[in-house]
């Protein structure tokens, strides 16, 4: 489990040291992309803990969610409606749900371990 965490840190350092920054207008899209990616990641962790993890679902979900969120935001900009809020809302709610499920699963696992030890 430490490998993904290490990769996250490596990614952050990579981003900071390349000093890459995108134009201000596009920072909205990037924030949504980050949210979509986080949602996929936590969804993947939850699926893994529940034993229903599937590689193709995980990878396709990652790209599809990002593309969908960004196109929704793009459409919103052109329609004059803040559609990106919809994406933020959906991903935000799902993120919380996923994290809650992960927490419960981990708690259950931990409790079982403790019982077994006794």
């Amino acid at each position: 489990m430490w490998l993904p965490v290490l990769a996250l840190i490596v990614g952050i350092f990579l981003g900071l040291f390349t000093e890459l920054s995108i134009p201000e207008e596009y920072s909205n899209y990037l924030s949504i992309a980050v949210l979509a990616a986080l949602d996929t990641l936590f969804g993947g962790i939850r699926a893994y803990l529940q034993g229903v993890y599937d590689d193709s679902v995980f990878i396709s979900g990652f790209f599809f969610n990002i593309v969908l969120a960004i196109s929704l935001a793009f459409l919103g900009v052109h329609l004059g409606v803040d559609l990106y809020l919809a994406a933020i809302f959906a991903f935000g709610v799902r993120l919380f749900q996923n994290i809650a499920v992960i927490r419960r699963l981990l708690l259950v696992q931990w409790n079982e371990k403790k019982k077994n030890a006794i």
Partner: protein, 241 residues
């Protein structure tokens, strides 16, 4: 977790980290807030424009020199060099210069002389203050009692006697000749001098500062001492190429 899933989680974590870092850098870009108001910005702009015009005129002068060098390399190289030397000498104050400017006279206060006081002397501090003020008012060339002030001139107290370039100044009256860039500048200088507090400052030392009106033809003599340049060494001829 099998190998493949681990790899995917790792890759996606890395992508997320990268995205977060990029987003972070995009958002925090204006780290320092600009809190200057419009007048401060204008002032800054004015300073920069002045700087720009100075630089442009310098570039112009340098380009002219380059052009001179290139025009006829063989014959006029020496001429151009001499010209440059002449120009540098003028800048350093080693040539006599004629132009428009004003004269200042430092005289003892008449009442003091009537009361039997001796004709006073000017202190080095006061003279320095005057000269600094003059340069601040855009004076170009200054001579004190025919002693030219150059880049390395000193005004100091030597055993109680005020000296300029190592020459001691006589008792009052003393005449200062100040040249300006043009007659407009001379007029400005005159008005600024009239408006400054210098006259009061001199009065405290029992000296009357007389500011004469701008004149068209004034002359300041050349700086007559050697200028010792310690930190520059002439380059050997063969090192040039």
């Amino acid at each position: 977790m099998n190998r493949k899933a681990k790899l995917h989680f790792t890759l996606i974590s890395m992508v997320i980290g990268f995205l977060v870092a990029v987003q972070f850098q995009t958002v925090k870009k204006p780290a320092e807030r600009d809190t200057r108001d419009i007048w401060e910005i204008r002032q800054e702009l004015g300073v920069q424009l002045e700087q720009q015009s100075i630089l442009l005129s310098q570039i112009d002068a340098q380009e002219k020199t380059i052009y001179q060098y290139e025009k006829d390399q063989a014959s006029s190289k020496k001429e151009t060099l001499l010209e440059t030397v002449e120009q540098l000498k003028t800048e350093a104050g080693m040539t006599a210069i004629e132009g428009t400017g004003i004269t200042l006279e430092l005289k003892p206060i008449a009442e003091e002389v009537l009361m039997g006081g001796s004709a006073g002397k000017i202190s080095a501090d006061l003279l320095q203050r005057l000269v600094n003020q003059l340069y601040l008012f855009n004076a170009q060339h200054i001579s004190v009692n025919q002693y030219r002030l150059g880049a390395v001139s000193v005004i100091r107290d030597i055993n109680g006697i005020t000296a300029v370039n190592g020459n001691s100044l006589p008792a009052l009256p003393i005449t200062l000749t100040i040249l300006s860039k043009n007659s407009q500048e001379a007029e400005k200088l005159y008005n600024r001098m009239l408006g400054s507090e210098l006259q009061e400052d001199f009065f405290i030392d029992d000296i009357r500062l007389v500011i004469n009106e701008p004149q068209q033809h004034l002359e300041v003599p050349a700086y007559d001492k050697r200028i010792n340049v310690r930190s520059m060494i002439p380059q050997a001829a063969d090192e040039e190429e």
